[in-house]
Subunit: 250 residues, 2 copies
């Protein structure tokens, strides 16, 4: 799916931003970068530095004179837009874009273009009107201008999230240690109560809510077998220390 | 909700990255920036240029010597981590973090810290072990190192999306007891270690992973203030029973 998504930058002015876009794309598994009438050199010290190891995307990038040329083979074009325009257009959020992507990328010939405008003035109305839909990244109303690489980062991240959920390969907790059983927990609570009595912290004649509160805490933590062993070990050491103490009042 | 979220940067080397973080934060409506032991000047031409109008966040940023100081009042600390560590920790995706945020920000005293490490080496194990959970931004396995400002951008975007969706369906404040702060938890861990030494369960010369494992367990349980008091009381009673000197400074 990700190989069917193209990032299109129109009239970019700063090589550093192109480098930052390349890094954001490669981080998220996108590789198809198209530059329309860039207003700066593409391969510079600054762009390579900001690409930080993703500079092969800069070298592979296609360069086009017009937006039409850059998206000629695309089956869906979505323009990034900061503001609503005079002529309302289908406007989606990045999350809604992500929801649509798997369906839009089904065919071998599917190509989705995500189109980004100039650092200073965005996309023109003519350019926006060549897009099927506009995507608006929700921002602070008082400070809505995202850095170009940051805007690409957000959409590329949503692309990757869509791809991961589609592949049902979302990262799962690495923690695969075995959970303690109910029985092991109950034995722990019995042992805990004995130890608390031994150190004179707990008086079963005046239980208040102590054991209930401790149960709630430890059950919430869902202890693993290994952790249960540590906690049992602490209780045994506590009982031993309490018993070996020089005898005080009883 | 957004005003209860703090971005914490540890040991940042490049002023431009701090500026880029400020811009990303302000774009998404976050304002609380904390810098721990920055390895560069904070206010420079480069940071102001990259902040692109969000430089008031640079001027307002708090500067701290240690992570503990920066998150002392935080009720939840989540560390950004690129890799799984030797000791697995609760690991969530940015989306899962977003799902949790409204509930984590309910109280007026709620403070959520999102903690980011150094550009070259990320967070240390000791720093990661002070966090309740780790958040991993899913990236290309072959190219996983995100730019610092880009990583903040992704999480800040998820914070904003969570805030926007919350505006639709505001969760009602729970009548739960107040959560322990980071500082209260750290004092508990210090006390726990002293008590384990007193009962000869723990040998600091041969720590193995004991304290890390116990940190993981208790951080996972998210203790409330009242529970923290009970656990501290148990430790004091344990020390007393073991005949060691009573806990002096707390």
């Amino acid at each position: 799916m990700l190989e069917r998504i193209r990032i299109v930058l129109i009239g970019t002015s700063h090589p550093g931003n192109i480098g930052g876009v390349a890094r954001a794309m490669h981080n998220m598994g996108l590789a198809d970068l198209a530059l329309v009438a860039p207003r700066c050199e593409v391969i510079t010290q600054d762009s390579i530095s900001r690409a930080s190891g993703a500079d092969h995307l800069l070298h592979q990038a296609s360069i086009h004179a017009t937006l039409e040329e850059a998206v000629a083979d695309c089956t869906l074009a979505v323009g990034a837009s900061a503001r609503s325009r005079t002529l309302p257009w289908p406007m989606i959020t990045p999350r809604e874009l992500a929801d649509r992507l798997p369906g839009e990328c089904l065919q071998a010939t599917s190509r989705v273009a995500l189109v980004f405008g100039r650092e200073d003035s965005g996309l023109t109305n003519a350019e926006l009107q060549r897009c099927h839909a506009h995507v608006h990244i929700p921002t602070n109303a008082d400070f809505s201008s995202l850095n170009l690489a940051a805007a690409v980062q957000v959409l590329a991240y949503e692309c990757r999230m869509a791809w991961l959920s589609q592949a049902d390969a979302a990262p799962t907790p690495a923690d695969d240690d075995e959970q303690a059983t109910h029985e092991e927990l109950e034995r722990y609570f019995e042992h805990l109560e004995r130890a608390l009595i031994a150190i004179e912290f707990h008086d079963p004649a005046q239980p208040r809510q102590l054991m209930a509160r401790l149960r709630r805490l430890y059950l919430r933590a869902r202890p693993e077998k290994m952790e249960m062993n540590i906690l049992r070990g602490i209780l045994s050491a506590t009982e031993k220390a309490a018993g070996s103490r020089p005898n005080s009042a009883s």
